[in-house]
């Protein structure tokens, strides 16, 4: 009967905490949104499922060997860990804290002690180490996104880059919001946390994950969930703001057809962008370097088999593991915090401000040139969220004027927004990284 008792004591049902239960419900909720409401399913299905896995009681899938050893709390193992970590006594919380702040060599030594005691890293923890902590997965996805991006509309009308720049104001306004919340003592965000949260406003999943993994890994789960959820909500968030800031006449503006862009221009553009990054902001080099590399593979026309793979097999494989890894950060103790609510509120504010600034910038550019060259509806596409935001611009344009197809015009600021947020990410990493 001992074994029966063992089985019961080790089962999930006798160990589940309220937090774990809540997180499982949240994981199921994310799956519902992804599958039924089509909220960025490519990421939210793996993230939601990973979140459920991470919260299975006693399985420890999202924990390192040391965290698992501390959880099971055998006295002799705790004693050894205390010696290794230089802690007097073997209090579980003290050990956990000492482990998290330990330097690299102590960390490695503690890990060996735990492995000798028979504990091992959880599956999701290993995925996280390899996919995100190494920085590899977001960069490889960004390469694939580069290989999927057509800069033609941007090259035909390069001034739309200004719209992509303006929309990044959402990022920095949110940073300010986060530090304000912190200054007023409402929440407790460091400047690094604030920077990572701001990037949600960039509406760019891989950039947000990359920045969060560098500046605020403990917030990564909430930031990634917010970023992808709001990207999915773009068709709900943006239209009211766009309507409020434009007149019916402005929305009816039809734009002149885009000129043809030659192959050579498309090949040279990623190289020019790369050189500009190299000269001005080396901290953005990994992100924009991989992005430009993917785009060059796409456009150069001589490595189609590599470009195909970057757009399909490779990005799909990496997406699966990136999603599960992000899910590993949805453990109850990290996610169920008032900070997460703060992040969700700040994230939607960031989207809204970015949208508004894009529209206002478009109107300002029309003023400056004294003409009606730009339909302000395409300004909102500057937040990126490719290609959803551009489609929203198109839809509102058609509502105002059924002959007015803005899709291709909006693709310019849309991809400009990707560049803009990567530049903003580089500035953040440079200053607070």
């Amino acid at each position: 009967m001992d074994k029966l008792l063992d089985l019961w004591l080790a089962s999930g049902i006798s160990n589940i905490s309220v937090g774990q239960f809540s997180m499982m419900i949240i994981g199921l909720g994310l799956l519902y949104l992804a599958i039924r409401k089509n909220f960025e399913p490519l990421l939210l299905v793996p993230i939601g499922f990973g979140g459920i896995l991470a919260n299975i009681p006693e399985a420890g899938l999202a924990f390192s060997a040391v965290e698992n050893a501390i959880h099971f709390a055998k006295p002799e193992v705790l004693q050894q860990l205390a010696v290794t970590l230089g802690v007097s006594g073997a209090d579980v919380h003290e050990l956990t804290h000492a482990y998290h702040v330990s330097n690299v060599s102590t960390h490695a030594a503690a890990s060996m002690v735990a492995q000798d005691a028979g504990y091992s890293n959880g599956m999701l923890y290993n995925f996280y180490l390899i996919a995100i902590a190494s920085g590899a997965a977001p960069l490889i996805i960004f390469m694939g996104v580069g290989a999927m991006t057509d800069f033609g509309p941007l090259l035909a009308n390069p001034r739309t880059l200004f719209l992509g720049a303006a929309a990044q104001f959402g990022i920095f306004a949110t940073v300010l919001g986060a530090v304000a919340l912190s200054s007023f003592g409402i929440l407790d965000f460091s400047i690094q946390d604030a920077a990572a949260i701001g990037i949600i406003g960039g509406a760019d999943g891989p950039t947000a994950i990359y920045v969060a993994s560098l500046l605020a890994p403990q917030l990564l789960g909430a930031i990634a969930v917010a970023a992808y959820s709001y990207m999915a909500l773009v068709p709900l968030i943006q239209p009211p703001i766009m309507r409020a800031l434009t007149t019916a006449a402005e929305r009816k503006i039809s734009m002149s057809q885009l000129r043809h862009v030659s192959k050579t221009e498309k090949i040279l553009f990623p190289l020019l962008l790369l050189i500009l990054v190299a000269m001005l902001l080396p901290d953005a080099a990994p992100l924009l370097g991989m992005f430009c590399f993917g785009n060059l593979m796409r456009e150069c026309g001589v490595v189609d088999r590599l470009s195909d793979t970057a757009q399909n097999a490779l990005i799909n494989i990496v997406t699966i593991f990136l999603g599960l890894s992000v899910g590993s950060k949805l453990s109850a103790d990290k996610f169920l915090d008032v900070q997460t609510l703060g992040i969700l509120v700040l994230g939607i504010v960031a989207f809204g401000i970015g949208t508004a600034c894009g529209v206002i910038m478009a109107k300002f550019m029309n003023k400056l040139q004294g003409g009606n060259a730009i339909n302000p509806l395409i300004g909102s596409a500057g937040v990126s969220a490719v290609p959803m935001a551009a489609r929203v611009s198109n839809k509102l344009g058609l509502e105002a004027n059924p002959q007015n197809f803005l899709l291709m015009h909006a693709m310019g600021p849309n991809v400009a927004g990707v560049i803009g947020s990567a530049v903003a990410a580089g500035v953040m990493i440079k200053f607070v990284g």
């Binding site: 880059l161 304000a180 040279l268």
Partner: protein, 80 residues
């Protein structure tokens, strides 16, 4: 206004400033490039639409023949 908030303000000022400077430079550089390309690198006219080249690293010439054979067979079958 405490230190953290002033850090945030600085980050905002420098960040937005840098984003605008960078993208303005990109507009200038891109525009110049486009003008140079349009003038000096005329595009080949009426290029025959070519099938996607899939250069294999080694000796995969046989596959195409197989494909052609299969398609030919299929077409013959439909024509009957």
């Amino acid at each position: 206004m405490d230190n953290l908030f002033s850090e945030g303000l600085t980050l905002m000022a420098f960040g937005m400033g840098f984003v605008f400077v960078f993208l303005t430079l990109l507009v200038l550089v891109t525009g110049t490039m486009s003008r140079l390309v349009t003038r000096f690198v005329p595009e080949p006219v009426a290029k025959a639409p070519k099938a996607r080249p899939r250069p294999a690293a080694a000796g995969s010439a046989g596959n195409n023949d197989e494909l052609v054979a299969v398609i030919t067979a299929a077409v013959h079958k439909y024509r009957k």
